[in-house]
């Protein structure tokens, strides 16, 4: 008795059970041994013999091992069975997870391939989502963004959707602020303006915004260092040369210098004192592009170009956007109603400047993207759809892998079912496994996606990198990746789980005698998935090809000026502190000296950058003034110097160019383009007629008509344009256009050094060639086609891997059949053909389906394509051909290995 007790205690020591539990077990086991002993005695055994036998029964057992296994599996059994729930969902889940992890560890090859495949799909999704999240979903680090609204001007009768939002004049803004009560606080900011900053030796171009003193308070943000503007610093024009530096600019342009506060920097040659650093991550309210520095709006005169110097006192100069925080409980509609009443009264009081002007109020979340919102939304949706499809392909690959594993696992599943495992429990277990796999892929995908984003973001133009939005990897990105991974796990796991759980014991046994007859069924499901994959890959490839072709033809668009052998230099003499006389002298001198450089055939000055023209609304044509307000005439206005048209290669239709004699005191004149001429002078009598530009007093006499060019975007619809001579319209911010005889890049340096000789302080860092202008105009589209191409190829390679996998699997399954065929005299070629035919049937049906879908997709896209039809034969053909070649390779390799099956070996195996 004593020894039994000791023996049992000895065996239980390694278990570390709670003392009470241990005592219970010991008591129960002792009972058992006691019973055995008594029975042996009753059976006539001698006490010593009985005693020995009882001890022996204990010592030959591996009680410890068995008990340990039991205690380790507290809760349900490791092989989950039907209704054998512990009743605790969490405990069950934990159990399932541990079991799933064990199963995945057992097959590292499968796990690695599946997780990598998923990682590619999830990574692509995460990357695209991160960018969208950065640009669209979490734009501003301000307080309660839903209360903030942006106020712009617009022409009456135009809806906000028309995109014709205009800036407001400072005086109109001030009146609005005084007369409305809808806002607890109303501030204004200008757009980011390019200015010249001189802090040490090297002058640099940065972007500044003029803001009212309450701007930062209205947004509810706090400086990360120093302070923001005081009300007193925003009352007297020119009195408070103080500046708030953006956090990114402080880090990037000043190396995060800790002693930055109190430092003086020169902005456009006026010294400003830095009083504060903006909060980290805040780059103005315009989500895409932000300023480096903020100055009080009263300093407008010091930082704005000459034409806008009177911005604070001239109601006609529009530079500001209002930002208001809505009073609590007030709806946007109520605020709009109040604003429109004030706008109407301003229109009555100041008909000269405010006629036809209405006020637009939009939530800041909507306004923060400006005109880019539409293309951004479209691009985002398209990209999201595409990476969604890529993920679908990855899912179907992994589903196929799981299906082939399911065949292997039928034995395991059959045993579980024989032991009473219920279907739902089995499905739950299998799904836990696939979700775990999905999450594993998700973690890898998050890393891939993050890397991909960084890579993509590194293509930002370096000169603006600090002004563009920063990538945000935040909780919503993690949440997104997690959700996608979990859903993915369910998606690719559900069909295999349903199928596997339908296994029945008797069928598994039958199957073993019938050499896997049932796996045919599996192959047909796999084939369906493959057909879908091929079809989706084809659609993606076709879309990529269509966009590529569209960009190709955009390059052939004639912008209306000669882009080859053209270079331009942005120079703002006004920002170097030049007055009008000095600036005009500078224009003349540089014209003379640069014109003398060998290889330069002509040059001119103009105020507009190609494809960055600004439209002005409110042009008045003499004799046609009495138009309805809603029909206000708008035109792109460009101030130009002599020889502009010959330098840019814009031909004259009729009339004459500006000459040396068109000066300040002579008759004010203008040149228009043929679009405007045809629209307003249908009888071709425009020469000698007069027009008036918005906010200007003089009527200008038309002396010439030139061909229409592209002014705002490449391939735009023809727009009216008015050119006015520099000599009658002074400007201190001009762009130098140079036409060269050969490749312009060779002469760039020579021009630069000439300008340096003329004035070493003038920054000439923004130089581009004409072709680069076109490149930049298509930058976004090119990034787009790059992404589409990458995702299309990703889809193709995933589909090819899937195809190869399933073909190799099916060849392996059919080894016996192939062996028999070969034993009966089939040649290697005919066996290869057999396998190839099987694979290519799937591929061809996928291609047929894909072509149908691609035509539909092309049709949906056609209005975004330029110069290429949605059903473009070349795109469709090229994509199909590429897919067929890759698919053929994926089928050929297994087919070749099939032809090498040794009939003897194959027959012997089975």
């Amino acid at each position: 008795m004593r020894e039994w007790n000791d023996e049992i205690r000895k065996q239980l020591t390694g278990l570390n059970l709670p003392p009470a539990r241990e005592e219970e077990i010991i008591e129960e086991l002792l009972n058992h041994l006691e019973n055995l002993y008594e029975e042996l005695l009753a059976g006539g055994a001698a006490p010593e013999k009985a005693h020995r036998e009882v001890l022996a029964s204990l010592s030959q057992s591996d009680l410890l091992v068995e008990l340990r296994a039991t205690e380790r599996t507290a809760g349900p059994d490791p092989i989950p069975e039907g209704i054998a729930n512990s009743g605790h969902l969490l405990a069950d889940l934990w159990q399932d997870l541990r079991y799933a992890a064990r199963m995945l560890r057992k097959t590292p090859g499968f796990t690695a391939v599946a997780a990598l495949t998923l990682a590619l799909g999830i990574g692509a999704n995460t990357a695209v989502f991160t960018i969208i999240n950065t640009l669209l979903f979490s734009p501003l680090p301000v307080e309660k963004i839903s209360e903030l609204a942006a106020i712009n001007a617009t022409q009456a009768k135009m809806t906000p959707q028309s995109g014709e939002l205009q800036l407001m004049s400072f005086l109109n803004f001030k009146d609005l602020r005084e007369r409305t009560h809808s806002f607890t606080s109303l501030a204004a900011h200008s757009n980011p303006m390019a200015i010249t900053m001189t802090d040490t030796a090297e002058p640099r171009r940065i972007f500044a915004e003029g803001v009212t003193a309450n701007y930062f308070d209205t947004l509810g943000i706090h400086p990360s260092m120093g302070r923001f503007f005081l009300p007193a610093e925003d009352t007297t024009p020119g009195a408070a040369p103080v500046a708030v530096l953006g956090y990114a600019a402080w880090q990037g342009r000043f190396g995060g210098a800790p002693d930055i506060l109190g430092r003086t920097i020169k902005l456009n040659s006026t010294p400003f004192t830095i009083i504060g650093i903006g909060p980290k991550g805040f780059k103005g309210v315009y989500a895409v592009f932000g300023p480096d520095v903020w100055v009080p709006s009263t300093m407008a005169e010091q930082i704005f170009p000459a034409q806008q110097r009177n911005a604070l006192s001239d109601r006609a100069i529009t530079l500001f956007t209002g930002i208001g925080r809505l009073r609590e409980g007030l709806t946007l509609a109520q605020a709009r109603a109040e604003l429109s009443i004030v706008a109407a009264s301003l229109e009555k009081e100041f008909p000269d400047t405010n006629q036809g002007q209405a006020v637009v109020l939009r939530l800041l979340t909507e306004a923060a993207y400006g005109p880019e919102r539409q293309p951004l939304m479209f691009g985002s949706t398209l990209l999201m759809a595409i990476v969604g499809l890529v993920l679908l392909i990855a899912c179907s690959n992994v589903a196929n892998l799981l299906l082939s594993r399911a065949t292997v696992r039928r034995q395991e599943v059959a045993v579980r079912i024989a032991l009473g495992a219920g279907r739902s429990r089995l499905i739950r277990q299998l799904l836990t496994e696939s979700v775990l796999l999905g999450l594993l892929g998700g973690v890898l995908g998050l890393l891939l996606g993050y890397g991909g984003c960084q890579f993509l973001w590194s293509f930002r133009p370096a000169e603006f990198a600090q002004n563009l939005a920063d990538l945000r990897i935040n909780a919503s990105v993690f949440g997104f990746a997690f959700a996608v991974s979990a859903v993915t796990g369910l998606l690719f796991g559900i069909v295999p789980a349903l199928r596997t759980s339908r296994t029945s014991v008797s069928e598994v046994l039958k199957e073993e005698t019938r050499a896997m007859g049932r796996s045919r069924n599996r192959i047909s499901l796999a084939n369906t998935l493959l057909t879908g994959q091929v079809a989706i890959s084809l659609v993606l490839l076709v879309v990529a090809a269509l966009v590529l072709r569209s960009i190709q033809s955009e390059y052939t668009i004639d912008p209306g000026f000669e882009t080859n052998h053209l270079a331009l230099f942005m120079l703002y003499p006004g920002q170097a502190g030049y007055d009008q006389t000095r600036t005009e002298q500078f224009y003349k001198q540089s014209r003379d000296r640069i014109g003398g450089i060998p290889g330069i055939s002509s040059l001119s000055w103009a105020s507009n950058l190609p494809l960055w023209g600004r439209k002005e609304t409110g042009v008045v044509i003499e004799g046609q003034e009495q138009r309805k307000k809603s029909e206000a005439i708008s035109a792109v206005v460009n101030t130009i110097d002599l020889n502009y048209f010959s330098t840019l290669g814009i031909p004259f239709v009729e009339g004459r160019d500006f000459t040396q004699d068109d000066r300040d005191l002579s008759t004010p004149i203008a040149i228009i383009n043929d679009t405007m001429a045809a629209k307003y002078w249908p009888n071709h009598d425009e020469l000698g007629k007069r027009l008036q530009l918005p906010r200007r007093k003089d009527f200008l006499q038309i002396v010439g008509v030139v061909k229409t060019a592209n002014y705002q975007t490449l391939g735009e619809a023809p727009q009216s344009s008015v050119y006015i001579p520099l000599r009658q319209n002074y400007s201190d911010a001009m762009i130098l256009y140079v036409r060269t005889e050969r490749d312009p890049s060779a002469t760039l340096a020579a021009v630069q050094s000439e300008i340096r000789t003329l004035d070493p302080v003038l920054p000439v860092d923004d130089i581009r060639t004409g072709t680069k202008v076109i490149d930049q105009a298509l930058w976004g589209a090119k990034i787009g086609v790059g992404l589409l191409g990458v995702f299309g190829l990703l889809a193709l390679s995933l589909a090819a891997v899937g195809l190869y996998g399933i073909m190799a699997y099916s060849v392996n399954q059919r080894r016996r059949e192939i062996g028999v065929r070969m034993a009966l005299g089939a040649s290697e070629g005919s066996v290869s053909l057999l396998v190839l035919r099987q694979g290519m049937t799937v591929v061809l049906s996928g291609v047929a389906l894909g072509e149908g879908l691609a035509v539909l997709a092309g049709r949906a896209l056609s209005r975004f394509l330029y110069g290429v039809a949605g059903s473009d034969f070349l795109s469709l053909g090229a994509a199909s051909l590429l897919l067929l070649v890759v698919a053929f390779l994926a089928c050929y390799l297994p087919a070749r290995s099939a032809s090498r099956v040794d009939p003897l070996v194959a027959l012997h195996e089975s």
Binding site: E27, E34, S61, L63, I83, N85, A418, G420, G422, L509
Partner: protein
């Protein structure tokens, strides 16, 4: 043959038999072991090291429930009874077992021969 059958059987369906034995009335561990041995005509035998861990496992999974019972002039014993979950599982395992046996029968030709 006896030992192989014994091992195979235990691995597969020991649970089924224990559940079946507890269907009518609660029993203690020694009783269960004896009954299995007796009813199988000595073909099936449980070691103490496999019987009790199995009972604990079934209890952990909520299929059976053990309770100490004291009777006059006896040591107290732990009696196990079938829980509702245990009854459902038993029914299910019986069904699977029948399918299994009939499948084996069909293949080996014992059933209709």
């Amino acid at each position: 043959m006896g030992t192989t059958l014994d091992q195979e059987w235990k691995k597969g369906s020991a649970e089924l038999l224990i559940l079946a034995l507890l269907e009518d009335q609660p029993r203690h561990g020694y009783d269960i072991g004896k009954l299995i041995e007796r009813l199988s005509g000595g073909m099936l035998r449980f070691h103490i090291a496999s019987l009790y861990p199995l009972l604990y496992r079934l209890e952990n999974r909520g299929l059976i429930h053990g309770r100490w019972v004291e009777k006059p002039n006896q040591r107290r014993r732990r009696y196990y009874r079938l829980t509702t979950q245990g009854q459902i599982t038993l029914a299910r395992q019986r069904q699977s077992w029948r399918e299994f046996v009939s499948a084996v029968g069909r293949i080996t030709g014992e059933e209709h021969a």
